[in-house]
Each structure stands twice: as structure tokens, then as C-alpha cells.
């Protein structure tokens, strides 16, 4: 849980107030100057007689907030997103309104990419096979899976994914976002109820809205609230008609990417079983990254995969490829293959990307004949726990559970976030600031993603830079408590040593 000190909340609100005030002031002057014909239409402005394509108030946030910090986002890179990568330098002549590329790059430590097991780098097992499949199958099949885009690789990967996740069958889809937004409407429709966690990802929200079912939200990771909602909804039924719900689907995520927390899966699964609701788990960040053999949150928390009805995951984070999958019983997968629109209409996954996932999974399972997979999983666990404990020792406020490779560091203040990001970039460390609207207004944070390809030296260098910049920007919120704790300890030892001189020797 986030503990927001009162002074920090007050200064953050003040910060936002100042930015908002200046934004409105500038808008006011622009309107005045425009009416006096000193300033023309905004760029690409409205054609005569047409309503403007973007309303003035719609993009107030973009023009007055986001443009100031635009150089911290969409930074282009010129190499693999590995542990160290080349960030292309950009410059701006008009206060961040337009950014121009240069040819200069700087080698930075990558604490931002979702490269949990290090498969973004060239791998001795995966890369030759990917190149071979590229030469054999070409970059694309130009067809959907049900027409002419089904290759041997796709069939092999579906079986392998089902085996990896320990479910009877699986279906492969070309993109993680489309997986959620087109599978949920195929499973549930009008007359059904979706209960989703309040911090679920945008793709789940879009899929839930497209399905036409009623949606209720339960407090983040709070099984008691989920139970209360389930009891109330089953007893009351559909709104207005009070007929019984056709089915209830509870949607949670394995690791929440903005909090770094694990889902409380055992409690949620037992509640769903008791009230006969179906569970849908989105393992985008946890598959391959947590668990003793990388099989995700079920393995980590000791939940039987058969208890979770639908397990969804993406292949772009831990496996260094692209795409998504759903694993469930044979009947559900059969049904989805006949109704899911993105399976029927979308281009099938690119064959080299499929081969990359097949090879990566074989490495993780140890089927390539080495134990590199087990080493990678152990490495990311050690790296995450080391980094998190060191950051906490330094006095930063770090969220997330143990073993989770995603660690957000609270910054709160909207001015400190771009400052932190720019100072870190000057010292060759790349981090990601995340603020409103992806997080609540007052709770801006820096999100760090650890990879198995980071060595201990890389992490120590990263820690040094973060500590320096943290001091400069002033976000070590727990420093005072640390100092007080250490000073209490020191005074105790001093007292003890005064009373007992022998302790000093």
C-alpha cells in the first residue's frame, strides 16, 4: 500500500495547480490574440464548416501538460532492447513541440524494457532457428489462420503453450491487446456479468465494453470486496428485470504492471468456486518471469491451473516475440476457434515470431539440452529481490511483492518525474516515468523492470545512479525514518557501551 505523506500530497497538488493555472493562462492569451488576429489557427486547423477534429478542451492535457515532458517518452533506440542499448539523442527547437532525431546515440542501461528472461538479445539456440524459419516461411503468411495461414509452426506452438501452462489446449492470436479485446466478447455477452479488478489493463476494459455484458469493479486485490459483490449480484440478479445472471466472469491479472503486486489468486479462486463464477487470468507480465520453472503465478502461489478457467498471456514480454495466447479446456478452445473474430479475420502470427517463442519455451523447459532456462529464472528472481531490497535500504518507496520483476518507485510530484528521467539519461540509465492518466493523479511513479540479462555489476551501477539522482531530486521519502532508526540504534549502542565499556573493545 502507498503511504502518502501529507506534505508530499500538498506540494503535489500545488504543483498540479500551478501547471493548470499557467496552462489556462496561456490558453486565455491565445484566445485573446486569436480574436485580435495576431495568431492564426492552430496547426492543421479546422476547415471551414467542419467541426474541429480535436476539441479545444480534449487536448488541453496534451498541449499544456504533456508537451512539457514529451522528451521523456517515445525515446527511439537503435539496437536490441537488451540489458544495455543505444538511445538515440533528440533535440527540439521549439520547446518540445517537435523533436528531431540526430545520428548520435548513447549506450544506456536498460531498466525499462519488458525483457524479463533476456530473450531480446541474440540467443545461441533461438536466433539461428528464427533465421532458418524466416528463410523457409517468409515474414508473413498474408492470410488468417482459418484460411491459408495455418502452418506447422502454429500447430506446434499451440501444443507447446498448452503443455507449458499445464492446461489441455491453447489458441494462438497475433497480438496481446487483440487477444483480450476479442476473446471476452466471444465468451460472455448480454445477460452476463463481468467483475473486474479496478486496476485492470485497458485491453480488458475494452473487451469487457465490447461484449455488452454488465460490468462491476471490485477494489484492487481485495477478495473480501469481491465476495461481497458476488453475493449481492447473485442474490439481486440483472438490473431492472431481476432475472438471474446467465454467467459471471471474474477477471484478474497475474502481476499488475503499475503496482508490481501479485494477485491474491488462492483466495479469489476459492471464492469463485464457491459462488460458481468463472475466472479469467491475464498473465501478461507473469508468464515466464515468476514461478520455480517460469510457469507463472499459479506455480508461484500453489494454485492448480485446472481451477482457473481461462488463462491468457502475452508472448512479447518474457519470450521476446509478439502475440498472445489463451489456454483452457478443449471445449472452450474449440468454441473460441469457431467464434473469436481475431482468429478468423486477423492475419496469422508471423512464422519467425512463432519460432522464437517455440525456441524460448524449449530453453525455459530445458528441452534444448542445457539448463540455461533454469539459470535465467533463478537469475531474474535473485536480481529482482536484490534490487528491491537495495532500493528500500536507500530510502526509496518501492511497491510490489517479493519475486516480482516489476518495481514502481513512488515519486508523486509531477515535476520530479521528468527531472528524474532526464538526469538518469544524462548518467546513461534509461527509466520510465508513469503518471496520470495511467496512474491516479497524485501517485506518479518511476517503473523499473528487471531482466535476467542484467549482471550484478549492471544492477550496482544502476543503483548508484538512481541513488545520486534520487538525492538530487529529493524522492527518498523514507530516508528520515531510516536515519531516525539508525540514530536510535546508535544511541542505544552508545548507552550500552557507556554502561559496559567492554562492548567497545
Amino acid at each position: 500500500m502507498v503511504r502518502l505523506p501529507f506534505v508530499t500530497a500538498a506540494t503535489t497538488l500545488l504543483s498540479f495547480g500551478v501547471i493548470l493555472g499557467f496552462g489556462h493562462l496561456r490558453d486565455f492569451f491565445r484566445r485573446v490574440l486569436h480574436s485580435l488576429h495576431f495568431v492564426g489557427e492552430p496547426a492543421g486547423g479546422n476547415l471551414k464548416g467542419y467541426a474541429p477534429i480535436c476539441e479545444g478542451t480534449d487536448d488541453f492535457y496534451v498541449r499544456r501538460f504533456f508537451r512539457r515532458v514529451q522528451d521523456c517518452f517515445e525515446r527511439p533506440i537503435a539496437s536490441k532492447p537488451d540489458a544495455w542499448f543505444d538511445v538515440i539523442e533528440r533535440y527540439s527547437n521549439d520547446n518540445n513541440k517537435t523533436l528531431h532525431r540526430t545520428t548520435k546515440t548513447s549506450k544506456c542501461l536498460n531498466l525499462a524494457s519488458f525483457n524479463y528472461l533476456g530473450f531480446a538479445a541474440a540467443d545461441e539456440y533461438c536466433t539461428p532457428r528464427v533465421v532458418e524459419s524466416l528463410k523457409k516461411y517468409s515474414a508473413s503468411t498474408c492470410s488468417s489462420r482459418v484460411d491459408g495461414g495455418n502452418t506447422l509452426l502454429h500447430v506446434e506452438l499451440e501444443e507447446l503453450v498448452a503443455r507449458f501452462v499445464r492446461k489441455p489446449a491453447a489458441i494462438l492470436l497475433g497480438m496481446g491487446y487483440t487477444t483480450n479485446s476479442s476473446i471476452i466478447p466471444a465468451l460472455i455477452g448480454r445477460g452476463g456479468l463481468i467483475i473486474s479488478d479496478s486496476l485492470n489493463h485497458n485491453s480488458i476494459v475494452s473487451g469487457a465494453r465490447a461484449s455488452g455484458a454488465s460490468i462491476r469493479v471490485f477494489q484492487h486485490n481485495n477478495p473480501a470486496h469481491l465476495e461481497a459483490i458476488l453475493r449481492e449480484q447473485v442474490a439481486v440478479g440483472q438490473p431492472r428485470t431481476h432475472r438471474a445472471w446467465k454467467k459471471i466472469l471474474v477477471i484478474v491479472e497475474g502481476i499488475y504492471s503499475m503496482e508490481g503486486e501479485l494477485c491474491k489468486l488462492p483466495e479469489i479462486v476459492s471464492i469463485c468456486k464457491k459462488y460458481k463464477a468463472y475466472t479469467y487470468m491475464d498473465e501478461a507480465h507473469s508468464i515466464g518471469a515468476v514461478g520455480k520453472t517460469g510457469r507463472g503465478v499459479c506455480e508461484l502461489l500453489g494454485v492448480d491451473p485446472a481451477d482457473v478457467d481461462i488463462m491468457m498471456g502475452t508472448l512479447s514480454k518474457s519470450f521476446g516475440s509478439s502475440g498472445g495466447y489463451i489456454a483452457a479446456t478443449k471445449e472452450i478452445i474449440h468454441h473460441l476457434k469457431h467464434t473469436c473474430p481475431s482468429h478468423i479475420y486477423g492475419t496469422s502470427m508471423s512464422p519467425p515470431a512463432v519460432e522464437q517463442v517455440i525456441s524460448a519455451m524449449k530453453v525455459i523447459l530445458g528441452e534444448d539440452g542445457t539448463d540455461r532456462g533454469a539459470k535465467k529464472i533463478a537469475q531474474i528472481r535473485d536480481n529482482s529481490n536484490f534490487f528491491r531490497s537495495e532500493l528500500q535500504k536507500m530510502g526509496f518507496e518501492v511497491l510490489g511483492d517479493a519475486d516480482s520483476p516489476v518495481m514502481p518507485m513512488m515519486v508523486y510530484n509531477p515535476a520530479k518525474m521528468p527531472a528524474f528521467s532526464r538526469e538518469c539519461l544524462k548518467k546513461n540509465v534509461a527509466v520510465v516515468p508513469v503518471g496520470f492518466p495511467a496512474t491516479p493523479l497524485l501517485l506518479g511513479r518511476i517503473r523499473i523492470c528487471i531482466s535476467a540479462s542484467h549482471t550484478r555489476e549492471d544492477l550496482i551501477k544502476g543503483l548508484e545512479v538512481i541513488s545520486d539522482v534520487g538525492d538530487l531530486v529529493g524522492i527518498k521519502y523514507f530516508q528520515v525514518e531510516q536515519d531516525r532508526a539508525t540514530s536510535v540504534q546508535n544511541s542505544e549502542t552508545e548507552e550500552a557501551s557507556v554502561n559496559n565499556p567492554r562492548l567497545l573493545c
Binding site: 467541426a51 477534429i53 537488451d82 482459418v146 506447422l152 478468423i344 486477423g346 492475419t347
Partner: protein, 481 residues
């Protein structure tokens, strides 16, 4: 005696006052010929009684919330539907599995077949130069990009690809998406919100329908590719309605419709758009790299300047033989999507080798315009050969690379039609080693156009391939239908 007298005097005075009030001249009234004395007092008492009754709470039966035990019982009784319906016998989509690249000739079950099921219009699958550039890209950048565009997932090949496409089409800027169908269903909700008006063709494919549904705008459909219907719909929506000038209005059409192979008449649409002041969103997945003198799409084909089309989207999984999609338009249109398009912001970016493949494909198209003439001659030849198949007729336009064959005498249900067409497709594959595909529909798809068999013509097909497919279809269709 001294006590009684004042009390008697006080009561007498009170009685005298009350009777004075009763007997005062203004306290006498004549109602229906009856004299009433002291009516003011009586009315005052009545008003007091009415006010007293009004101030009392009305009777409501007490609300009894459900007890915990009752909720438990209800929860035990409730039986949900199964998550998926039971498998119906005979309902199976059995797709053949390819054993090598999906070029004009491919291998299924060890046999070599002629492939008309891949939208490989320019024949770029298997092109050596493109594969070499992809191999170089995989070795330099790896396979995946491991992040969304906003968080270090932007690789220089993405920016190069966007610039290349914008330069090729002559627009100001373009933006890349990581999956073909996600392009249109992210673009539409980014620009159309609740309260806006969209006029769309009824034959648009599922991805467009999904975008229209997610946008929450008012959607009005017009008859498939019928310009008179479009004109009358636009007239009805804007006639006399002053309010429509303040809200954003869009026309959504596809250049070549996936569900029928028809080509949209762009010049007519632009004329209507300018007359009624609507904006146009054009979906060019199947016309980019196909129509137009140099393959620049529908606008070049009709000689319309590209600036007149507000938003152009296309999936790159067809002519460009790669994956992903792009959207192009003015700087304001493209910039707006970088922050508000959900498929761009919340999704991992396109794998870099696919962006490299797109750049190489566009280069190839610019350097070898002969592929377009090959494609056009193949389409014309196949169109001619398929014009006299028993039981099937061509529903697509003569320029369309998708040749859409529908049943001359359709049965009453689309499912039965589809089964018949699947039988034809299977026989054609088994007996003559020609791979074609019948259109499959999801039950979430709202399109009501007839199902059919689609043949995707490629510039890599030879004349013998074309004659093989036409003879095979003629034989099988006459035996089945």
C-alpha cells in the same frame, strides 16, 4: 365566594368573545340557502386538521433487506450457463496446415498445391531481397521490441518505415500499428466519441464494426456500395438539422471490401463529402499496393488528391507481405493518435524485422512497377475464365484482386451455404491440388452479405495456375451443385 366570582366572570367573558366571533357580521355566511354562523372558525379548524394530516408520514410497508441466510440459499440455487456451448456435431473448421511459405505454390500434406488463399498480391512472399533484409534486422534488433512505443519500444526502423510510407503516399505523416486489424478499431474510437455521427457501409468487415461499436457514436448504415443510398442517408441526417454542424461527422468506407470484392467509387464519395461536410475514413487494406498506376491506392486510381481523404488506414498483411498496419493523414490526425489511440499506446510495438520488411516491400514496388501489370493481367485473365462456372457467379469488381464467387441460388441459411462451399473447397484441394478458401464468419460479425469463395490473385501466379484453378472449379462446381 371571592374565588368563584372572578372565575365565573372569566368564563363568561370567554364565552362572550367566542359567541361574538360566531355572531360577528362577517362570520355569518349563507351556503345553499342555509345560514351558518361562525364559518371562519369552522374553516380555521378544518385547515388545521388538513395541515395535521399532511404532516404525518404516509404509510410504507417496511423494507426488509435479504438476510445472510437467504443470500446463501440464493447463491446455492443459482446455476450458471456453461462458459461455452457444447460442441455441435459437424461444426468444425478444419484448416489445412502449410509446410512451407504461403507463396503462389505451397506444400500441404506433402503435396504441392497452387495457393489462392493468401493475399500475397505482389508475390513478395519468398522474395530473396526482402528475406535478406529481415535476416539482417533480426540479427541487429532481435525479434520482439519488448515494450510499447512510449517506453523505449520505438526503434529507428519504425520511424524510418513511417517516413517511407508517408513519402510514398504523399501525405504529411503516418503512424505504425503492431497488428493489421487493430489499426482500424483503434483509429475510429480515437476520433469518434459519443455524440458524433458516423455513416458506414453495411458490408464493412468485423474490425471496422468493432471500432464503430467501441466509439459509442451514432452509427447509420447505408446499402452496400450504393451511392444513391449514401446520398439519401447524408441528406436525411443533415436536412434542416442545425445541430449537426457542431458535431463531428464521418463516412467510413473500405476501398476494396473484404466481404464482397466491390470497389468503392471514391470520386462520388468525395463529392458527397464536400457537399455535406463530412470527413472520410478510408480503409485501404486490400487496395494499397494494388490499385493506382504506381500502386498508391484508391486515391491515385481515381485521380483524387490524397489530401481530400482525411484519414487513410491499411493493414500491411496483404500486398506488403508483412504484418502490422499504418494510418496516415495530416500531422494533426497522426499526432492525436500517438496519445489517444489505445492499440498504439497500450500495446507492444511492431517487431522491427516486420517494419524492415515493409520498407523493403515499398522499395521493391517503387523499383519494379512491372509487378502491378502482372497482377492486373492475372486478375483480368482469371475474371474471364471464371465467368461461366455452373452455379457460381462473380460478385466482385473487375479490378479487385479478391475474386468473390457467390452461389447463384443461395439457400435460406448462411450456414448451409457455407457448408456447401466448404465441400467445394475441400474437393478442389483433394482432387486437383488447388488451395482456395471459403469465407468463414464469426457469430459476432454483423455483416449480412452473402458468403462465398474468395480467390486472392497474386502477381506470382502463372497462366497455368490460373487455368488449373478455373478448370478445377468448373468440374467440382458442376458435380456438387
Amino acid at each position: 365566594m371571592e374565588v368563584i366570582l372572578p372565575i365565573a366572570n372569566a368564563t363568561a367573558a370567554a364565552i362572550a368573545r367566542v359567541s361574538a366571533a360566531f355572531n360577528a357580521p362577517h362570520a355569518r355566511a349563507v351556503v345553499f340557502g342555509i345560514h351558518i354562523d361562525g364559518h371562519l372558525v369552522v374553516e380555521g379548524l378544518l385547515i388545521a386538521a388538513i395541515l395535521f394530516q399532511l404532516s404525518r408520514k404516509s404509510y410504507k410497508p417496511p423494507k426488509k433487506p435479504l438476510t445472510e441466510k437467504e443470500i446463501d440459499e440464493l447463491c446455492d440455487e443459482w446455476k450458471p450457463e456453461p462458459l461455452c456451448p457444447p460442441i455441435k456435431e459437424g461444426a468444425r473448421i478444419d484448416t489445412p496446415t502449410l509446410e512451407c511459405a504461403a507463396g503462389p505454390h505451397t506444400t500441404i500434406d506433402g503435396k504441392e498445391v497452387v495457393n489462392f488463399a493468401s493475399a500475397n498480391y505482389l508475390g513478395l512472399i519468398g522474395n530473396e531481397k526482402i528475406i535478406d533484409s529481415c535476416v539482417g534486422s533480426v540479427e541487429k534488433y532481435g525479434v520482439g521490441s519488448c515494450g510499447p512505443r512510449g517506453f523505449y519500444g520505438t526503434i529507428d526502423v519504425h520511424l524510418d518505415c513511417e517516413a517511407k510510407i508517408a513519402k510514398f503516399l504523399g501525405t504529411q505523416d503516418s503512424i505504425l500499428y503492431s497488428y493489421g486489424i487493430s489499426t482500424i478499431f483503434s483509429v475510429i474510437p480515437a476520433f469518434c466519441k459519443k455524440g458524433d455521427i458516423i455513416v458506414a457501409d453495411e458490408g464493412v468487415h468485423w474490425a471496422v464494426q468493432n471500432g464503430l461499436q467501441l466509439s459509442r457514436s451514432t452509427v447509420v448504415y447505408f446499402k452496400h456500395n450504393d451511392m444513391a443510398s449514401l446520398a439519401s442517408t447524408l441528406e436525411k441526417l443533415t436536412h434542416g438539422n442545425k445541430r449537426t454542424e457542431k458535431i463531428r461527422r464521418y463516412i467510413v468506407v473500405e476501398a476494396i471490401y473484404q466481404n464482397s470484392g466491390q470497389v468503392a467509387p471514391l470520386d462520388e464519395i468525395i463529392r458527397l463529402k464536400e457537399k455535406y461536410r463530412f470527413r472520410v475514413i478510408l480503409e485501404e487494406s486490400h487496395s494499397f499496393g494494388v490499385l493506382g498506376k504506381s500502386g498508391r491506392g484508391l486515391a491515385e486510381h481515381y485521380g483524387v488528391p490524397i489530401e481530400k481523404i482525411d484519414i487513410v488506414t491499411a493493414g500491411m498483411g496483404n500486398a506488403l507481405a508483412t504484418d502490422g498496419g499504418f494510418c496516415t493523414g495530416s500531422v494533426r490526425v497522426v499526432d492525436h493518435q500517438r496519445l489517444s489511440s489505445s492499440g498504439y499506446v497500450f500495446s507492444a510495438s511492431l517487431p522491427p524485422y516486420l517494419a524492415t520488411a515493409a520498407i523493403s516491400a515499398v522499395n521493391h514496388l517503387e523499383e519494379n512497377p512491372a509487378v502491378l501489370s502482372n497482377l492486373r493481367s492475372n486478375i483480368a485473365l482469371l475474371h474471364k475464365e471464371l465467368s461461366d462456372i455452373p452455379g457460381l457467379e462473380i460478385a466482385s469488381d473487375i479490378l479487385s484482386p479478391i475474386i468473390f464467387l457467390k452461389l447463384k441460388k443461395p439457400t435460406s441459411s448462411a450456414v448451409a451455404d457455407l457448408e456447401l462451399l466448404e465441400v467445394i473447397a475441400e474437393k478442389v484441394l483433394k482432387e486437383d491440388s488447388v488451395f482456395i478458401a471459403a469465407t468463414k464468419r464469426s457469430n459476432l460479425d454483423k455483416c449480412r452479405l452473402p458468403v462465398g469463395i474468395r480467390l486472392f490473385v497474386s502477381a506470382g501466379h502463372t497462366e497455368s495456375d490460373i487455368s488449373r484453378v478455373s478448370t478445377s472449379l468448373k468440374m467440382v462446381a458442376s458435380s456438387v451443385l
